[in-house]
Amino acid sequence: MPKGYVAINVERCKGCGFCVEFCPTHVLAMSSAFNSKGYHPPHVVNPEKCTGCDLCGMYCPDFAIYGWKAPESKNGAKSDAAR
C-alpha cells in the first residue's frame, strides 16, 4: 500500500516539469501524451513510492497536481504515512 496518493488535473497542466523534477521519490514522469492545450502533463510511474508529501502540489504553478497522505487503511490500522 502506498503511503500517499497524487492526483493530476491534466487540463490545467502546462507541462513545466516542476512536479517531476522535485518529487523526492520520483513518482512522476512527463507523459508523451498531450492535453487539449498541447502540453505534456506528468503521469504517475511509481505509485507505490508516493508519500503524499504534496511537494508536487506546492511546486505546481498551475494548481494542476497535488498529493495527500493515505488515510487509515480499511482494516482500521493506520498506514505508514498517517502515523
Binding site: 502506498p2 492526483a7 490545467r12 502546462k14 513545466c16 506546492m58 511546486y59 498551475d62
Partner: protein, 310 residues
C-alpha cells in the same frame, strides 16, 4: 472534494489513470483550491512561470496561520504578479500600477481588523511604487508585502526593472543592463520593515513558513520571492525554461538567516543569499497614532476601530 482530477473528460488522450483509485477512496481537495477563483482557471501565467508556485505557499500559509479568511484582503498593483488579486478567492483589489501600497494603507487604516496582504511585482512595488513602499515601511504600518521578483517587467513584455542585474538583456537594454539594481532586502531594512526575508519559488516550504511568520507578526513585513520568468527574462538571457531557473535557484541559493542585508545583493550569476534577514520589533503605525492622540487629547480622543459608514 475535487472531481476534476478524476473526470474522464478531462483526461484527454492520456490512457493512464491519475490516481490509483481502487486503493484510495479518500481524496481530499487540493488545499489551494478553496483559495482560488476556480471559475477563472486556467490563469494567464505562462508555462513554467513561478508566480503560481508562490500562490501555493500563500494558500498553505493562510491555512496554517488559521486566519479568518473573511478578514484577509489581497491588494495587487499591475503586472503579471498583479493578477494574483484576481485569482484568489478573498476580498481582493487589483489597483493601479505602483499604488497597491497606498490603497492598502487606506484599507488597513479604515478597518484595522483586516489582514492586508500586498502581493505585487518588483517593478510595481519598487519602480513606479518605490516611494510608497519606503514610506509604508517607515511608518511601520501593519501590511504584509509579498514581492515577486522576476528581474524584469513581465506584463509589458520584458523591459528593464529596478532589479534587473547588470549585464542582463531586456527589451529596453538591448546591449545589456548597465544600471545598478536595487538590493530589495537592504532597502526594506533601511526603510524600517520589521520583517525582511528572501526566498525563491524553489523554496516552497521555507516560503510558506515565512508567510506564516508575517501573518502572525504585526508591522510592515516584506518577503522577496525570486521566480522564473521563462518567457521573457530567461528567453532573452538564454537561461532556459522555468525548470532551469528552478534548478538554478536550488544550486545557487545559500541560506543565511540574519545575514546583513547589505551583503545580499544579487548579481546575474552569483550566489543567491536567501533566508530571514530581519525580524525585529518597532511600534506599529496605528499604535503610535492612537497613543499619541490619546496622550495629547485625553478624554476628547475618540478611538474608532472600524471607520464604517452607515
Amino acid at each position: 472534494m475535487t472531481s476534476q482530477a478524476r473526470d474522464p473528460a478531462e483526461l484527454g488522450p492520456r490512457p493512464e489513470a491519475e490516481v490509483p483509485a481502487e486503493s484510495c477512496d479518500y481524496q481530499p481537495e487540493n488545499p489551494v483550491e478553496q483559495f482560488l477563483r476556480t471559475d477563472r482557471m486556467p490563469h494567464i501565467w505562462c508555462p513554467g512561470c513561478g508566480i503560481g508556485t508562490t500562490v501555493n505557499s500563500f494558500a498553505r500559509a493562510l491555512l496554517e496561520a488559521k486566519l479568518d479568511l473573511d478578514r484577509v484582503a489581497v491588494v495587487s498593483g499591475i503586472g503579471c504578479t498583479g493578477r494574483v488579486a484576481g485569482y484568489v478567492r478573498l476580498d481582493s483589489f487589483h489597483t493601479t500600477h505602483g499604488r497597491a501600497i497606498p490603497f492598502a494603507t487606506g484599507l488597513k487604516l479604515a478597518n484595522p481588523n483586516l489582514t492586508v496582504v500586498v502581493y505585487s511585482g518588483d517593478g510595481d512595488l519598487f519602480a513606479i511604487g518605490g516611494n510608497h513602499i519606503i514610506h509604508a515601511a517607515r511608518r511601520n504600518l501593519d501590511l504584509k508585502v509579498i514581492c515577486v521578483n522576476n528581474f524584469v517587467y513581465g506584463m509589458t513584455g520584458g523591459q528593464l526593472a529596478p532589479t534587473t542585474p547588470v549585464g542582463a538583456l531586456t527589451t529596453t537594454t538591448p546591449y545589456g543592463c548597465y544600471e545598478p539594481a536595487f538590493n530589495l532586502p537592504a532597502l526594506m531594512d533601511a526603510a524600517g520593515a520589521v520583517y525582511v526575508a528572501r526566498w525563491t519559488s524553489f523554496h516552497v516550504r521555507q516560503l510558506t513558513r515565512a508567510m506564516v511568520d508575517i501573518f502572525r507578526k504585526k508591522g510592515f513585513c516584506f518577503i522577496e520571492v525570486l521566480t522564473p520568468c521563462p518567457s521573457l527574462f530567461q528567453r532573452k538571457n538564454r537561461m532556459g525554461e522555468g525548470l532551469d531557473a528552478m534548478k538554478y535557484y536550488k544550486e545557487k541559493s545559500k541560506v543565511r538567516h540574519g545575514a546583513p542585508t547589505s551583503e545580499v545583493g544579487l548579481t546575474i550569476d552569483g550566489d543567491i543569499i536567501v533566508g530571514k534577514f530581519v525580524d525585529r520589533e518597532r511600534p506599529e503605525f496605528l499604535d503610535l497614532l492612537r497613543s499619541q492622540l490619546a496622550a495629547q487629547l485625553g478624554d476628547r480622543y475618540v478611538e474608532v476601530e472600524h471607520l464604517v459608514c452607515s
